[in-house]
């Protein structure tokens, strides 16, 4: 069964450092999403890609967060500099349609900022 791959699974960093997360969506899925999930809450969308283009980044803190999907396949989410409040699970999801239907999530990257 095809799955969304993410790495690393865990990341511990000090505040003001840079961190990067990688996501490889299910093969053939044109739509890719990055979510942030704070412990005890539901996922919140950070950015949505359709192929290599950003469709929605209205909730992405652009002063410190950036995301790219250069070839329309895998994607990288970067935080620079990391802050204590960035500690969360970062989830990647993909979908084979333009709409928000049937999104499949990866295992996530648990980030701890010290």
């Amino acid at each position: 069964e095809a799955e969304v791959a993410q790495s690393p699974r865990y990341k511990i960093t000090e505040k003001s450092q840079a961190v990067a997360f990688w996501c490889d969506p299910i093969s053939g899925h044109a739509t890719l999403y990055w979510y942030r999930q704070i412990l005890g809450q539901g996922p919140e969308l950070l950015v949505q890609f359709q192929d290599e283009s950003v469709v929605d980044d209205s909730q992405l803190p652009k002063d410190r967060f950036s995301a790219e999907r250069l070839k329309g396949v895998d994607s990288t989410l970067k935080i620079q500099p990391a802050e204590l409040g960035d500690s969360a699970m970062y989830l990647c999801a993909s979908s084979n349609s333009r709409g928000g239907v049937a999104q499949y999530f990866g295992p996530g990257t648990r980030l701890l900022v010290l």
Partner: protein, 110 residues
């Protein structure tokens, strides 16, 4: 502003019992309503989903009931098993964006 409100926050059920989780929404543009199951340290897994033109959908022990006029939908877990212990999220999709509820932690006692 949370677009999907979910309750209860947590529930405990005996093995073999029925778990019921409720969600409500305001945005009538939502056109797809999935439920996700999440185990600790894992990503959410799509469990079952429904569109607003259907009032009920059943897959195995999981059933979604949908009330379009009331803008409410619910998940029923029949014959709950210890392996069902997890956090369940309802969600709603519209305009290509998925909005999640806050989650319900279900504990099934053996």
């Amino acid at each position: 502003q949370q677009q999907v409100k979910q309750s209860p926050q947590s529930l405990i059920v005996q093995k073999g019992g029925i778990s019921i989780i409720n969600c409500a929404y305001e945005n009538t543009a939502f056109d797809y309503f999935p439920w996700y199951q999440q185990f600790p340290g894992k990503g959410p897994a799509l469990l079952i989903a429904i569109r607003p033109d259907v009032s009920e959908k059943k897959e195995g022990r999981f059933t979604i009931s949908f009330n379009k006029s009331a803008k409410q939908f619910s998940l029923h877990i029949m014959d709950s098993q210890p392996g069902d212990s997890a956090t369940y999220f309802c969600a709603a999709s519209g305009m290509a964006k998925l909005s999640f509820g806050a989650g319900t932690t279900v504990t099934v006692r053996a």
